[in-house]
Each structure stands twice: as C-alpha cells, then as structure tokens.
C-alpha cells in the first residue's frame, strides 16, 4: 500500500514535471529573442578576449553596437587590419585602412646591468607589492622587473628578458592597455608608429642624480631640444617631450643623445 502511494506520488509529479518541462522548452525556442544575425557574425569574428580595449563591456556588446551602426568597425585594436576587413565584409562597408600601428612599449632601459639594488627586497615577488615598500632599486622611477605586466598580458606579448626588463612583441601586442594600468610605476605606454621618436626613460631626476643610479637614464641635458631643427622637443620634468605634429623624423636627437635614452620608433 505504501509502495503504491509512493509510486503514484512519484508518477504524478513526474508526469507534471515532464509536461511543463517540455512546454517550457518549446516556449523557449518559440519565444527565443532573435538577435541581429550581423551581431552574431561580428561576435564570432571578434577575438573574444573581452579585454574591453574598445570601450565596451565585452566583445558581445561591441558587436551589438557595430551591428546597430552606433560604433565604428575599427574600434577593436586586438583584431587589427584582418578583423576590420572581416567586419567590413559583414557590415557591407568599405574598410578604411590606415597604416598606423600601435604597440605598448616599456619606457625604461634600466635593467640589471644598467642599475643596481641599494637594498635587498625579500617580499612577495611582484611589482605591485614591491612598490608598496620603500624603493630598493637604485632608480626610483625604473622598472622593478618582477614581470607583473608579463603575467597580466592576455596575448603572451610580454616576456622578461635576461636583463630583467620586459620586452613587448609588437606583432603580438593588441594594445589593450592592461599592462599600462598594471605597471605600478607607469612605465608602459601605448605608442603609435606615427610617432618618430620617443623618450625611453621616465626619470624626473636631473644630471648627476640620474648618472649615479642608471647608465642609460635620461639626465635632462637638453641636447635633443637644442639640436632639433624644427624645435619639436620641449623639456618637461627634465624629460624631453616630442611634439608629434612638428617632428619631421630626422633623427638628429637620437644621434646626439649621450645616453641612448632617445630611440626611434622602429616597428
């Protein structure tokens, strides 16, 4: 008797469950919210890293904005030219290609050889942690070398070289900017191939103070600013700032720099 009532309870509720489950499954197909097929295609073409470099919450929301025509097709820096062409195909518009390339660049040359440690750091081996305590490295502006940037890069574009400095592969770099925000000393910047020269140092110190702590640091000698034939270089915080518009790319500044702190953009 007990078994029968048990069986009927299971059967009764089981049947109900199956009926309503099937009904809901059918309804979810029938009432499925249709998405713009373009949006789905774009979403598939996008890298799917959801890095947010386009300014949207993720690849999917960027795809939706593009499909609606609210956003340009070239906002995804990760996909590059190839992706722009793909999206242009999907949207049926012409790809406006530009030759401008961008990459993240570490603006510090003070590796193990160029600098020294004035104290031994034994804490957690990360730049974020090391930056919390007093500076152990000779240069207070220089790269700490624990590779936080390399760890945070989604695209394996950053490797730490033998000299203890991060090296960024411009081909792999998606200029998503994650490393830029990660670096506690703000040494990484997104540079454009439109720029001809950049200052490869962030030290605001001057003259001898720099010379003591780093072999390759810019010590604010202002030779570059003086030699520039078009006066495109100005000194700010003892560092040269290049006016990209005015610069003609002659390279005089690079040749005359006594410390190699000035480099040509070569990617």
């Amino acid at each position: 008797m007990e078994i029968i009532s048990f069986a009927s309870a299971v059967a009764g509720l089981g049947i109900l469950g199956i009926i309503f489950g099937t009904g809901l499954a059918y309804a979810s197909v029938k009432f499925a919210v249709e998405e713009d097929p373009k949006k789905i295609e774009i979403d598939e073409a996008l890298p799917g890293a959801n890095c947010g470099a386009c300014g949207f919450a993720g690849c999917s929301s960027y795809a939706e904005a593009v499909a609606k025509g609210e956003e340009g097709i070239d906002s995804c820096p990760v996909g590059g030219e190839e992706l722009i062409e793909k999206i242009a195909d999907i949207m049926g518009v012409a790809a406006s290609s530009s030759d401008e390339k961008k990459t993240a660049k570490v603006l510090c040359q003070g590796g193990n050889q160029e600098t020294f440690n004035k104290a031994e750091y034994q804490g957690v081996p990360s730049c974020q942690a090391a930056s919390m305590v007093d500076n152990f490295k000779s240069c207070q502006y220089g790269c700490l070398g624990f590779g936080d940037c390399a760890a945070v890069c989604d695209f394996d574009a950053i490797v730490m070289n033998d000299n203890g400095l991060p090296e960024i592969d411009p081909d792999k770099c998606a200029e998503c900017g994650v490393c830029v925000t990660e670096c506690p000393r703000s040494l990484i910047e997104i540079v454009s191939s439109n720029e001809d020269v950049i200052t490869n140092c962030k030290s605001a110190l001057k003259g001898k103070e720099v010379k003591v702590v780093c072999e390759k640091g810019c010590f604010g000698c202002t030779i570059c600013a003086k030699k520039c034939p078009v006066d495109a270089i100005e000194m700010e915080d003892n560092l040269p700032v290049v006016d990209t518009e005015g610069c003609i790319g002659c390279g005089v500044c690079v040749k005359n720099c006594p410390t190699d702190a000035f480099v040509e953009v070569d990617f």
Partner: protein, 189 residues
C-alpha cells in the same frame, strides 16, 4: 450566468485579493510607482492567475485526486505556477524588452506571489468547477490589476503632494494602502 458574474465581481471587487484578503502585497507595493508599469504588472499577473487557475484545477481533478496524492497539492501548484511565470517571462522578454526591464525582479517573483497560490488553494477549497475556476481566476487578476493601478495613480500624485517628512516614501504608501482597504471594506458591506 448570473452566478458566474457574481463570482467575478466577488473575486475582483468585494473580496479583492489585495485589499480584502491581503494577498500579493509585495508587488502591490513594489511595482506601483507608475501607472503603465503597474498596469503591465497587473496584466502579467492576471495572465498567470487565469492560466494557473485553469491548469491547477485540471491537475487537481485529473492527476492529484485520482492518484490519491492531494497532499502534494502545494508542490504541484507551485510547479504549475512557476512554469507559467517562466512562460510569461519568456513572452514579455520577446514582446517588450523595455517592460521586461521595468518589471525587473518582480516578474519572476510572480512565482512567489501568494495571491496566485492562494487563488489555486481557494479554488480547491471551495470546490469550484472548471468554468468557475477560470472566471474566479480572471476576477482575481482583474481585482489585482484594479488595486495596483489605483495605487500607482495615487502614488503618482503623492509625488507632488506635501507629505510630512517622516511619512515620505514607504510610510505614506502603507497608509494609503490601509485607507484603500477601508474603502473596499465599505464596498463589501
């Protein structure tokens, strides 16, 4: 016919689920800030009430009673109600995304709206037939819609009224609900 009409009036006005039996107070206070949203909430609840009334009646007579498992009434009813709420949710999402956003959490919460389970249980207790159940469900839904829309209308005006500071917000809303309930009691006399 007259009997059905009386049943409808009783369910919607004189025995109004919200204001006379105090069921479904949560959405009544939660989604009654603007008339259009309140009206849509009323419609969604009415839909769930009518379908649930009919289907729970069927489930009760076709499955629960013959199998002798009336003691599983609550579980079976909640299963029915939640299924229909899911259905309504899918439908609203498809038909009107803005409404879907406006109703927000209160849409899936119709599942736990005691007015609906109360309706199903009342039908079972009173022993209503199939047509009666449908009419009773419709009446209850219309009654809920009337109550929530009236409330929303009053609250829209309250926005501009000079309400004493300590009574602003929830207190004045509860007071209004109480006074509305008093008025409905007068109708039942």
């Amino acid at each position: 016919m007259q009997e059905l009409f009386l049943l409808f009036m009783a369910a919607s006005i004189t025995n109004n689920f919200v204001l006379m039996q105090f069921l479904g107070i949560c959405p009544f206070l939660g989604v009654s800030k603007e008339v259009p949203t309140a009206f849509s909430m009323g419609l969604a609840t009415t839909f769930v009430m009518v379908t649930s009334a009919v289907v729970t009646w069927l489930v009760e007579t076709v499955i629960l009673v013959p199998l002798g498992i009336e003691y599983l009434q609550y579980i079976a009813f909640i299963l029915v109600i939640s299924s229909f709420v899911q259905l309504t949710e899918l439908f609203v999402k498809k038909v009107s995304p803005p409404l879907y956003k406006a109703l927000g959490i209160f849409l899936p919460l119709i599942t736990t709206n005691c007015a609906i389970l109360g309706l199903a249980l009342l039908i079972s207790m009173e022993g209503y037939g199939f047509i009666q159940s449908a009419v009773f469900g419709l009446g209850a839904g219309v009654g809920f819609t009337i109550a929530i829309v009236l409330m929303a209308g009053i609250r829209e005006r309250l926005e501009f009224a000079d309400v004493p500071k300590p009574l602003k917000g929830a207190p004045i809303t509860l007071l209004v609900a109480g006074i509305m309930a008093l008025a409905f009691t007068g109708l039942a006399m």
